[in-house]
């Protein structure tokens, strides 16, 4: 295996500056610029006008969508740094998703953070930093880049989780998230070091072609791969690496929770796709069963525990764990054959897109309702329909979308997920699909219990003053609900975006 690396190591004492394709980097460059601007603006804007900073951040995020669109129109894939950084359809779709998510989270947090008198400027700054990490992650095709992107998106998130500084629960959330995050990234790093040791390269494409030479791989690779998967399993909160999630979600500021449950999770899946599909496609005999087990226990455990939750955020936390289980299903079956691989990628991306909209929306309603009730208990939603019919309808839509009931977006995500499993068609795949099916029934119970509270229960404290939803939050809710419903009714809207076979086109 050493001979392979001869070319890489021998050369060049003379440094040749790389020729950079600035168009390809434009989204990140814009984003970085906005980050710096936000930081500067925060210094200049007086304390009572901080909302301007948030608005600036929002606009900046939207601005970074422009180069993504131009890149998409341009259409051809850009590969840089020997394959370490790739801007292709997949990357663009995911970048777009991250940026859109960031925008919605900003909208959701505008009033939340301002009302709580937290550090608004820095909040936006950290949020944008994390999004920057995610956009980089979408293009990263190299272990080092992936690692740095992961830390880039994680570190601000650790801090955001503890943003409500005076709240011990928020502190606790940050601590748990941080500690477990650091440990799991350490495990991942250890795994990466082993991979590097065996393969001699950090570029995924090279790792991929390196491993295709072998019919069987040594145990070290099995475990190294396991360690890497664990790092991202933590990120996507797959059981048994999920323990941080409910605690952190509950303790963190709700917009941050929304962000974690959506963007951070998506980033984890994106990395997982890159690593497994590009770097370790031939090792699917390892990660196939691994993802199978993870998917099965993740959705089952997540759903079962969610049944017993009384706090809405905590319930949504377990719900998002269970959802991660569903998203893992395509991973479990992707390695069966080339066709299944493509379906699996599409299924994962479509699921992530839809999941993002509906889960963000659900948190949006939670934030809106908590503005009045000041409570996170599911019971506090009692009788919502009588005084906030609009929010009730929205929450109902999000809940049943998460449950996968047509004609709300979630059904199509689930359908595609099932479709991926059955496309593989092997017995384990079908068993997994059946497990997922049963789980989606269990899940309905707790999703519907929220609907039940809202529609069928009396108002707990009898206070029926209407809820005033600030415009930013209302915008966020509108965006999410439109996506959720529109995709459910007319899935082709998203299906095009999900058509991301580019990730593995080379193979």
């Amino acid at each position: 295996m050493l001979s392979l690396l001869a070319a890489a190591s021998s050369s060049a004492s003379s440094f040749k500056a790389p020729i950079l394709d600035y168009h390809a980097f434009a989204p990140e460059i814009v984003l970085t610029g906005v980050i710096v601007l936000v930081l500067l603006a925060d210094l200049l804007v007086p304390e009572d006008r901080k909302v301007l900073v948030t608005n600036l951040a929002g606009l900046g995020v939207l601005a970074s969508l422009i180069p993504i669109i131009t890149l998409a129109i341009d259409g051809h894939d850009r590969t840089m740094f020997g394959g370490a950084y790739v801007v292709d359809h997949f990357a663009l779709v995911m970048k777009g998703l991250f940026i859109a998510t960031g925008y919605v989270v900003l909208l959701m947090s505008t009033n939340y953070v301002a009302d709580g008198d937290y550090y608004e400027g820095e909040f936006s700054f950290l949020l944008l930093s994390s999004i920057l990490g995610m956009t980089v992650m979408a293009s990263a095709r190299d272990l080092i880049t992936i690692f740095v992107a992961l830390e880039m998106l994680s570190l601000p998130a650790y801090m955001l989780a503890g943003w409500r500084k005076r709240d011990p629960k928020s502190n606790e959330a940050a601590l748990k998230y941080y500690l477990l995050g650091v440990l799991s990234s350490a495990v991942m790093l250890y795994g990466m070091s082993l991979v590097y040791g065996v393969a001699g390269t950090t570029v995924l494409a090279d790792i991929g072609s390196f491993f295709t030479q072998f019919d069987s791989q040594p145990g070290i690779i099995t475990v190294a791969l396991l360690m890497i998967v664990i790092g991202f399993a933590f990120k996507v909160s797959a059981v048994p690496f999920h323990f941080w999630a409910p605690d952190t979600y509950e303790g963190a500021p709700t917009p941050v929770t929304a962000f974690l449950s959506v963007a951070s999770k998506t980033a984890g899946f994106v990395a997982l796709m890159e690593i497994l599909y590009v770097g370790f496609l031939s090792n699917n005999n390892v990660w196939g069963p691994l993802c199978w087990v993870l998917a099965a226990i993740t959705m089952t455990v997540g759903n079962l525990i969610a049944l017993r939750q009384t706090n809405i955020v905590r319930m949504l936390a377990y719900s998002s764990i269970a959802q991660a289980g569903y998203i893992l299903v395509p991973f479990a079956v992707a390695g069966e054959n080339a066709h299944a691989l493509i379906t699996a990628q599409k299924a994962s991306v479509v699921y992530l897109l839809i999941y993002t909209a509906m889960n963000l929306g659900a948190f949006g309603v939670v934030i809106a309702v908590a503005r009045k009730t000041r409570s996170g208990e599911i019971k506090s939603f009692g009788g919502l329909f009588t005084y906030a019919p609009g929010l009730t309808l929205l929450m109902t839509a999000f809940m049943f979308s998460l449950a996968g009931i047509p004609p709300l977006g979630g059904w199509f995500a689930k359908l595609f997920m099932f479709s991926a499993a059955l496309d593989a068609g092997t017995a384990p795949a079908i068993v997994l699909a059946v497990i997922a099916g049963v789980n989606s029934v269990i899940a309905l119970f707790y999703y519907a219990s929220v609907a039940r509270e809202m529609w069928m229960s009396p108002v707990p404290d009898g206070d029926v003053t209407p809820i005033r939803v600030p415009p930013a939050l209302a915008t966020a809710l509108a965006i999410t609900v439109i996506v959720t419903v529109a995709v459910g009714v007319y899935p082709p809207l998203l299906a095009k975006l999900g058509d991301v076979a580019t990730l593995t086109r080379a193979f």
Binding site: L179, L183, V187, T222, L226, I230, F243, I305
Partner: protein, 699 residues
Amino acid sequence: MLDHAYLIPLTPVVSFVLILFFGKRFPSKGSFIGVLALVACFVMSLVLAGQWISRDKTIETLHHATPAQLRAVEKTGHEPASNDAGGEEREYKRAPVVHETTWFENGPLKIKAGTLVDGLSVALLVVVSTISLLVHIFSTEYMRDDRRKTHYFAALSLFTSGMFILVTSSNTLQMIFGWEMMGLCSFMLIGHWWESQDNSNAALKAFFTTRTGDIGLLVGISMLFWLAGNTFDIGRINSMALSGRIDQGLLTAAACALLVAVIGKSAQFPLHTWLPDAMAGPTPVSALIHAATMVVAGVFLIARLYGVFWQGFHIGAGDGYTPVAMVGGVTVLIAAALAFVQTDIKKVLAYSTVSQLGYMVMALGVGAWTAAIFHLFTHAFFKACLFLGAGSVSHSGSHHSFDMKKDMGGLKKYMPVTFWTFTIASAALAGLPPFAGFFSKDEILVGASENGYKLFLYVGLIGAGMTAAYMTRCIYLTFFGEPRGAAAHHHPHESPIAITGPLVFLAILSVVAGFAQAPIFGIEAFSDIVEPAYVTNVVSHHGFFGILAGLGILAAVIGGVSAYTVYFLNRGPRGLLDRNRAAHAGYAFLANKYYLDDLYTDGVVGSIKGPIARAAYWFNQNILDGIVNGAAAIALATGRFSYNVIDQKIVDGAVNGLGISAEAGGGALRTVQTGKVQQYAAILFGALVIFAVALWRLT
């Protein structure tokens, strides 16, 4: 009329609709619509009968074919080629006139609906329309002030049309329609005074019991549909059955199934218990049910599908025993015995009906097809007369009571017309010459004797004796002796013309109807007209047998005389005196009643048939009725068990249990979420090791 026979069932249907929706607006509450409709039906039936008779004649002369030749054609079992080609109807003697239209289609199969007119249906149409007309007329008076007169007449019309549909059906599917329509109407009419729980119970029981029999009907007709080659057509079913091309086992099974239906509908042992209870309905309804419709439907079913029964039970073999005959025979005796112990005049008549239906079924079972139908024919008149007579008594004599012992007695002098008509009808029922019953019963006895079913000859004779005896008792208790109860206190008087008119008319018919088939005089008009080809060709015909007639008369006389001895010669009144004394002795009323009932029964009835009748009655009330009622109770208990235990605990429990265990599982898993960050970390590394080992071994 032969080509428009559908008008006969249609007319009362129209009248039903009219009465139901517009009846209330008329002062008569719609009764006249019903009467008019029935007049029309009556006239049409007579015209039809006339046309049928004359058609027979014309065809016979046209074709110059002898019955024997036709029989030869029929016996080959193959239909004439012209029919297979879908050409003309077989236009020879006794061939039915069939008019059909496609009801619905199932693929290539056309299910038809239509009318079939032949001798059997003509005879039944005449009987039914006559009786129904009279019942309608009778009811205008009898139900004059009823609060639901409109409903009553509507149901009466529908009931009649049900019977019309049944008898004119060209196919078995349509027969089910008529059959069940009558079930429905009997339910409505028996339960007419549904304010009382007893009445509605009786209605339910009637419907439910006949419905139980209908299991057989549905199964039997389904089986015949397939066995006869995908057809409901009666003619084809009969010819297929007779041709022997149907698997014998299955055919017998189908016949058995249909027999079950007959047992339910025609109140044969052991499903007869609903019929006496059905006396809860208004008396004219009882007359209609017992004389012309409903219960005779079962007999009609056997007659109509005689080929099936003939072949299915080997009736022609004459080996002394067929299930059909057994059912009939047992019913004859049991019901006759039961008639003895009734105090309710209508129940006496009801058991008498059961017994007479037993005769008809028995006759069919022994191959005496014509005798059975003839008995049906004559029985209709005298039984209608008896019921209407009983109605007249209660209407005008006993103040709406039917209790012979409590509220009647000595009514002869107040109600002469009723008395005489009742007596004539009773004589006809008892089988005394020259009344109608004599001729028809004699035919049955001949059939049983000559077709190789001697056992049933004796059954018939014993039954005849018993019939005479209980009718004598009935007449005595009603019309003779001292007036009692209501009869003594409520100024009995003769009924008005609307009631007596039908009585007289029916009494006359009870006399003359018998002469339609009186072999003793060489008259065989009834069998000539009525027998369809598929019957004529298989059954044997016998002439007049003086000895059997004599035996029949003798049996009736013995029964009548012995009852006469008991009742008219002072045994009866003494029993009544005893009863009154005992009442004075101060026992609690109910206890007294039953105690003295026992005494009475022991002392009076016991001298003739006491032990047997009592045993039969006990058996009837406790065992048979117990089973019928018990079946309901068991069904209810089973239902409760299956609902409360199986459904709610096991099936639903399993479902809820899954839910509970899911929640419990969630609860258990929650305990792992301790909130201690270092435990989480430990699990992270522990999972790492476990997964690593597992995967390492796997790959």
